[in-house]
Structure formats: structure tokens, C-alpha cells
């Protein structure tokens, strides 16, 4: 036991003495969380638009006011002619142009029908779709209130309520995803690199020849990263809660259990990588390429799994972060407990055992 403690102590010294490691451990998680939280936001705020009002009557003015005071849009230009629309899109100044037809109020009164044309810059399709939805929503709302007395025959109305994230805050999605990414980065990448470093420096030989058991060597290498990952997980949850208002509706115990399970999985993956990689560079390459990309792309972190082609959907089942992110969202946003997340827990457990088993086998093979 004393042997192990000395070894763990040495591992901490390595970490605290290397400024690069410290940056990766404590700088990157915070930067990443801020980046994902603020920059890659899916919410619409102050989107620049232009308006071309051919009618300019009291109704169009009311609608315009309503749109511009919503907080979602900012008026960049008032256009006068149709041929101004194309250049303004090309210049990239605006994302959307709203066109009111001639005699808007008149048409509305006489025929009970008036047209608004919404033109959006679909070079970014998601944003375009969202801008349209927001605009449409505002116009619908206006008509509903303005003509509250009128009954339109056979109308189906849908009331929409966004459960668990009423305001559609993007951070609710990004905080669990960032957590999965950061923990993977620190646990799997850092352990595989630090073990590869011992091999590169030749110190691994010394350790193997010493009376230290192989399991102690691995444990000693891994334990510091388990602790540091836990600290990082705490930081992410804390910042997510305080800065972005991501709730923690489930029990902290379940949350902690889930995080520890995921870290253990990532650590065993790191050990597995280190049995294959003999240099830090190879370890970095494998963990960077083989772990980071799938974690970002195939886990449902950014892109919804349901929208993927079937082969990728099947592939995503083998991505541990997928199950972690899903369970994490359930616990944090829905307040679910083990009764709901047990399949995820079971899958993560199985994956951990698989990686550990494979590492032990590889390790033995290498020694032979």
C-alpha cells in the first residue's frame, strides 16, 4: 500500500510540474464549456434582417413593431425596391428579408387575406429554418390577437410546450455534451499519453522489473486522473448551473455515480490505447482521432442521432458517450433516477468491462 501511495504521489508531481498538462486539465474544460455555451448557440438573438414594405400602412407598422421588439431581430435596412433584396443577401448583411405586399391592410380588410413573403439566407439551413419559425410565430400571434373576435371555420390549433427546456436554451444540450467530451479527453487521452510516456522514457521497464504488481502500476497511473476528472466534472456542472442556468433536477448521488462510471469507462479505454501505443504521439493520435471525433459527431452531442443515416445510427450505439450524454440529460434535465437510466448504466458497465478485459489480454500478450 505504501508502495502504491509513493507511486501515486509521483504521478501527481508529474502532473503539477508540467504546465501543458495543467492547461489541458483545468484550462481546456472551462474554455470549452464557454465556447460551446456562448459561441455555438442555437438560439436566435438580434438576427439582422431587412424589411421591404410596399404598403406601409398601420397594420404592417404594427407587425413590424412586434417583430422588431421581440428581441430576436434587429433591423439592418429598410428596402424600397425588390431589386435590392438580392444584393443585400449577397453582401451577407442580413439573414432574412420580410416583404409586405402592396395594399396589405386593404387586402386584409376586403378579402380577409394578405401576404407576407419571408426570404431567408439558407446557406445556413438550420438558422434559416429557425428565423422563419420565429417570424411566422410572431405574425401568427399578431393575427390571433388582432382578430380575436373572428371565428374562422374549421381551424386546428396546436398548443406547443417545450418540456424540460421551456425557453429552448442551447446550453441545456451543450453542457452534458461538453462534460462527455472533457471527461473523455482527460481520462482516456491523458492516461494513454502518460503510460506511453513511461514506455518512451524506458521507466516502464524499471517498473515492470520492480516488485510492483502490474495492477498497482496501472492503478497508480490512473488514480490521479480519476480524481482530477472528478474535479473537472464538478467544475462543468457548477459553471453550467451558475453561468448557463442548466438545472440539476435529479439526485446528486445518481449524477455522481453516473460521472464516476463514465470516467472509469474512459480510463479503461485509455489503458487499452496505451497497450497499443508505444509513444506519446501515437497515443495522442489514437485518442484524438478515434475518441474525440466520434464523441463530438456520433454521440448526439451536436447532431441528433435520429437524423443520421441508418448505418451511422447503428454505429452510434457503440459510442460510449452516447449513452452517457443521454443518461446525463435524463438526470439533470428530467430529474430521472436509476429507474429510467438503468439501461444506460448497464451498457456503460459492460463497455468498461470489455475495455478492461481487452487491456489485460493485450498486456499479457505484450509481455510474452
Amino acid at each position: 500500500m505504501d508502495q502504491l501511495l509513493g507511486f501515486v504521489k509521483k504521478e501527481f508531481t508529474h502532473i503539477f510540474r508540467d504546465s501543458r498538462t495543467m492547461v489541458i486539465l483545468f484550462g481546456i474544460p472551462i474554455i470549452q464549456l464557454m465556447l460551446f455555451g456562448y459561441v455555438i448557440t442555437t438560439e436566435i438573438k438580434d438576427a439582422r434582417i431587412a424589411i421591404l414594405d410596399h404598403s406601409n400602412d398601420n397594420v404592417t407598422r404594427e407587425i413590424k413593431n412586434k417583430i422588431l421588439s421581440s428581441g430576436y431581430f434587429r433591423l439592418e435596412a429598410n428596402l424600397i425596391q425588390d431589386n435590392e433584396i438580392d444584393p443585400i443577401f449577397r453582401k451577407g448583411d442580413v439573414k432574412e428579408v420580410i416583404v409586405f405586399e402592396k395594399g396589405f391592410a386593404e387586402n386584409l380588410e376586403r378579402e380577409g387575406k394578405a401576404n407576407i413573403q419571408v426570404i431567408a439566407d439558407a446557406s445556413d439551413p438550420n438558422t434559416a429554418q429557425m428565423l422563419f419559425n420565429y417570424t411566422n410565430g410572431i405574425v401568427q400571434d399578431y393575427t390571433k390577437k388582432k382578430f380575436a373576435g373572428f371565428t374562422i371555420p374549421l381551424q386546428i390549433k396546436s398548443e406547443v410546450r417545450m418540456l424540460y427546456n421551456e425557453n429552448m436554451v442551447g446550453a441545456f444540450m451543450y453542457v452534458p455534451g461538453t462534460m462527455a467530451l472533457i471527461l473523455m479527453l482527460i481520462s482516456a487521452m491523458m492516461t494513454s499519453i502518460t503510460i506511453a510516456r513511461e514506455k518512451e522514457m524506458g521507466t516502464m521497464e524499471i517498473l515492470l522489473v520492480s516488485p510492483l504488481k502490474a495492477s498497482h502500476i496501472i492503478l497508480g497511473k490512473v488514480a490521479p486522473y480519476l480524481l482530477l476528472s472528478l474535479i473537472d466534472a464538478f467544475v462543468v456542472v457548477f459553471l453550467g448551473n451558475v453561468v448557463f442556468g442548466v438545472p440539476i433536477r435529479g439526485s446528486l448521488f445518481v449524477l455522481a455515480f453516473l460521472v464516476i462510471l463514465y470516467i472509469t469507462m474512459a480510463l479503461s479505454l485509455g489503458i487499452l490505447i496505451s497497450t497499443v501505443a508505444n509513444s506519446q504521439q501515437v497515443a495522442l493520435f489514437i485518442s484524438g482521432f478515434a475518441l474525440m471525433l466520434p464523441t463530438i459527431l456520433l454521440s448526439g452531442f451536436i447532431f441528433p442521432i435520429e437524423n443520421m443515416p441508418v448505418p451511422l445510427q447503428i454505429l452510434s450505439n457503440f459510442m460510449p458517450p452516447r449513452w452517457f450524454i443521454d443518461a446525463l440529460k435524463q438526470v439533470m434535465l428530467k430529474g430521472n433516477g436509476f429507474a429510467y437510466i438503468w439501461p444506460n448504466v448497464l451498457i456503460l458497465c459492460a463497455m468498461t468491462l470489455f475495455f478492461l478485459g481487452l487491456s489485460v489480454k493485450k498486456f499479457r500478450l505484450r509481455l510474452e
Partner: protein, 249 residues
Amino acid sequence: MDVITSDNKPIIQVKELVKKFGSFTAVDHISFEVNKGEIFGFLGANGAGKTTAIRMLCGLLEPTSGALKVAGFDGYHQREAIKRNIGYMSQKFSLYEDLTVYENFRLYAGIYGIPRKERIKKTDELLKKLNLEESRNKLVAGLPLGWKQKLAFSLALFHQPAVVFLDEPSGGVDPLTRRTFWDLIYEVAHQGITIFVTTHYMDEAEYCNRVAIMSEGKIVALDTPLALKEQYHADSMDGVFLKIARNKE
């Protein structure tokens, strides 16, 4: 150079030792004994089976067949005991470069379960002997190569092993430093610690009490450097090595 045989008790006993990897025989029925306090050189080209043999002697690999005893412990069932009673120094010197000299001592002492009090006393003694007192709290990374070599050697001896294995201990070190390093080796051997050394440098082979030369998994020559030179009519170990290689063809 005369053979130091202060005590003729063999500390390493190898008899008909074999290691097979699948159908490939890496070590093919080798037999030899190394006495207490002897400096035993182990030579051979890359792929001759040297590394595999050493790994068995260090308790890292289980032999396929044959008898193996190191420091009185069996190479099959007492590999953990062997590990506790040997020291090992690799060609990379294998120090933790981002730890200080003192911290390296502390770590090794910890791994071998040496009590704190003894550790502190011995560390002080050794640092004094190696003239490294001033570098005590310096990072190993900043030390000259020759110092690292001495330091690595001292670390391998810290737990007072019966045998110390030196795997190409002079890689990249200039001849003068190599010479002073060998003075250190002689000193240790005189204290009764057995030295088992592999090397590429033939001048180092001359310093050994006895030399075994491996080729294709077998020991093809084993004697004192003097006797080997006579037997092969060569005036240096270099010549011996060349003639053996030629005979093989």
C-alpha cells in the same frame, strides 16, 4: 584481468533453459552459472536472444523449459521474490526527468518498500559518494549524461540486490565517462554484488570477468576474455566477436 572469485557460490544457475514463442525458439538450451561478486558479460547481436534471456532472469518471463535459479529463487514459481532481489538498469537510464534527484531516490525506495529512516540515511550517503549533494533538488533533466548514468546505477543498487542487471549501461556515453563508470562497477562487485551486463562496446567486454556470447538463441562461447582471445587467436574482443560471426557462416 584476474577473475574475482572471492566466493564460489553460484548466484545465477541456468540449465538447459528454453524459451519458445509459438514455433520460434528465442532461447535454445542455454546453460551457465554466475558466481557471487562476478562481473558477467552477455554479448550477442540484436535478435540473438539476449533480451529474452535477460527477461527470464529478471522474472519478467516464464521459461518454456529448463532450470533457472536467481539469488536462490526459482524462475518459474518465485518470480516475485526474484524481482525483489535484483536490480535493473536499462540503456535509457530510465530516470524520471521531471523529478529531482532526491525525488527519484524517494520513489525507488518507496517501490522497494525501504523504510523512511533508512531511505533518508542511504540517500545522503549515496549523494555524498556520487558528489551529487548540490544537485539534490535539481531536476534530473538538467544533469549531464554521465551523472545520470551514475545515478541510475545507484538507484538500481539502492535496495541492495544480490544481482544487478545492466542492459547496455553505457549507451551514448563517451569512453572516459565509461571508464569511470566501470570503476564504480568494480567497486560494487568487490562488495559481493553480482553484475550481469550486456553491451555493444567491445572495450567493455574486456572489463568483464567472464563473457558469454550468444548467437541464434545459443551460447556459442563462454570464458574469460583472455581465454577467448587465445582460443580464437585474436588480440581483442572485437576480433573474437568477428571470428565467431564468421564461423557461423
